[in-house]
């Protein structure tokens, strides 16, 4: 039963059936121009050719270091910044075109931001913030407020106590619950969580993660979960996408990617996770230095200057995403048969 008064069946808007990806992104590019004097025009290649699908009902996590393009990808998906090129299909329909204009897409795709305080209007009560979305979409005022209260109760905040509060009067965890309630107020199918729990205390984080899982089951949601915390990612995701310098390095089922990572970068990321076992401490950093400047990315494979497996061919050839297992794809020449890399598997095994 839906807690939202007059809530629709979450699958009423479904078109393509369960096999059709909810969101399908291909060839997504976003370069930001850098203004620097009168020199030649330079660009930051924030997102540089990203393809992925988000399946219905799954949680896809996007992980990577700061500056790898995961937040830019999020904003592109939500249309908060305009893409340079690339195609985005929502349930099989191109977003921004006639069949699926941005306005109707946004009613089905909502976002929860990292900074729980900055994402709530300081002059509006919690209830007003949640009711704003339904109101501008034509829900009468009283009904919108009722829906806001029902959602507050659903995210674990007693409406009587919290509806009239202002954002500065509640804690970070409570604010993030309010942000989740607001995202759900438009009854979306896709919710993008951009570092939504990263700023919370560990105990609060766990509660909010559990809440997210409950809500997903109850409303039939699909999540895109952006995070840099691999423990959280392991807990919540069905599939994981690892990004490096605006490209996809590896994508696959979360148990495969996190248990048996194939890309050297993913391996380094996982190895750099602090261990709880004192006998098994991480002694040295596996990933040295900062990621290279996205204005001038390295030639060939972007990871080669920091990679332990790097060979001559890596600086010459850009590795395509190729399957190592069904559904598990990696952009690494050392994993691609016939790439010329000495560690590459032979063609026969791969076939």
């Amino acid at each position: 039963m839906s807690v939202i008064p007059n809530g629709p069946d979450p699958f009423a808007t479904d078109r393509g059936g369960p096999a059709q990806p909810l969101l399908s992104v291909s060839g997504l590019f976003k370069h930001f121009p850098v203004r620097k004097g009168t020199g030649p025009k330079r660009v930051v290649r924030a997102v540089d050719g990203v393809d992925f699908d988000v399946l219905k009902g799954e949680t896809l996590s996007i992980v990577g270091e700061s500056g790898c393009g995961k937040s830019t990808t999020a904003k592109l998906i939500m249309g908060l910044i305009e893409r340079d090129s690339g195609e985005m299909l929502y349930d099989g329909q191109p977003i921004g075109e006639r069949a699926m204009p941005w306005r109707s897409y946004r009613r089905q795709a909502q976002m929860v931001f990292q900074d729980s305080y900055a994402s709530l209007n300081p002059r509006m009560t919690v209830e007003q913030s949640i009711a704003f979305g339904p109101k501008v979409n034509g829900v009468p005022g009283r009904q919108a407020v009722e829906r806001a209260r029902a959602l507050l109760a659903r995210v674990g905040l007693e409406p009587k106590r919290f509806a009239g509060r202002y954002p500065h009067e509640i804690s970070g965890g409570q604010r993030q619950r309010v942000n989740i309630a607001r995202a759900l107020a438009l009854e979306p199918r896709l919710v993008l969580l951009d570092e939504a729990v990263s700023a919370l205390d560990k105990s609060v984080e766990a509660q909010v993660l559990n809440l997210l899982l409950d809500l997903k089951a109850e409303f039939g949601l699909t999540y895109i979960f952006i995070s840099h915390d691999l423990n959280v990612v392991r807990f919540i995701s069905d599939r994981v996408m690892v990004m490096y310098l605006g490209r996809v390095a590896e994508i696959g089922p979360s148990d495969q990617v996190l248990a048996a990572p194939s890309h050297p970068y993913t391996q380094a990321l996982l190895a750099s996770m602090p261990s709880l076992d004192p006998d098994n401490r991480t002694q040295e950093a596996l990933l040295a230095g900062d990621p290279p400047n996205p204005i001038d990315p390295p030639s060939g494979c972007r990871f080669h200057p920091r990679c332990t497996l790097a060979e001559g061919v890596c600086s010459a050839v850009e590795p395509p995403l190729s399957s190592v297992m069904p559904l598990h794809r990696v952009a690494c020449l050392a994993r691609q048969p016939g790439s010329g890399h000495s560690a590459a598997p032979s063609e026969a095994i791969a076939a």
Binding site: M78, L80, R103, R106, R107, A109, Q110, M111, F113, D115, Y117, A118, S119, L120, N121, P122, R123, M124, T125, S129, F132, G133, V136, N137, G156, L157, E158, K160, R161, G164, R165, Y166, P167, H168, E169, I170, S171, G172, G173, Q174, N179, R182, A185, L186, D201, S203, V204, Q207
Partner: protein, 307 residues
Amino acid sequence: MTAPLTAGSVALDGNITAAPDAPEAFIASRGFWGHVGHRLVRDPVAMAAGILIVIVIAIAILSPWITPMDPYKGSMLRRLKPVGDATYWLGSDELGRDMISRLMLGSRLSLFMGVTPVLIAFVIGSGIGILAGYVGGWTNTILMRTIDVFFAFPSVLLAIALSGALGAGIFNSIVSLTCVFVPQIARVAESVTTGIRRRDYIDAAKLSGASAFTIMRVQVLGNVIGPIFVYSTSLISVSMILASGLSFLGLGVRPPEPEWGLMLNTLRTAIYVNPVVAALPGLAIFIVSISFNLFSDGLRSAMEIRQ
């Protein structure tokens, strides 16, 4: 329960039933303006200034009925009586009219000329500034560069030039003073709006499918109106002084209408005969404008609530 709940309520986060018997006052939360009012009441200087403003406004409204003598009736025999005269408590002017009655009635026009242009400019300037700040890009450039042209002239000069071009009179003075203040308010409005347009809650509002106008009205306005309002109240004193200046130059109110600036003008010939009386309208302008400034300062510090 007065302090905003921040750190202390973290523990309540997970377990909302921890305090089921929270008192009613805990539930009702004071909004932003509630906090501002609360702090303003506790600021003695701002309150004194505020009370003075209220008294002057009351006098202005009631003056036709409460003036001790007819402010228009002169007497050739009783000109320029000193302050403290038995009949004329604050003396009489160069035509033998009662100063206190004229000052009281004069407060009407002086206040009107101080507040009206600022009020009109507040509405227009906020509109332009918020639009420029929120939309950004070319709209911002075109609007703000146009506004900048007005800053090339000192405001006094601009007011005199516009009034001179439009001709004397109350209406024309108000128009020219409004033109002086619109760019100033618009610039403040633009800068506060630019400061908040990239906040996440604006993005969240965009994601809800709200139109730009709705976002400006519901999400932006409440966050920028405070600073713009404070700045505008500080302009009231400037407006009063400029209006008095226009009247002094013969571009504003015309005699025999009492207005403080005009009174200052007509009494200037008496400055060697009775300097105290001649200075009274100036003193009135000074007191009222400084009250507006002090009140606006108090309002600003009351709004500096850490969020």
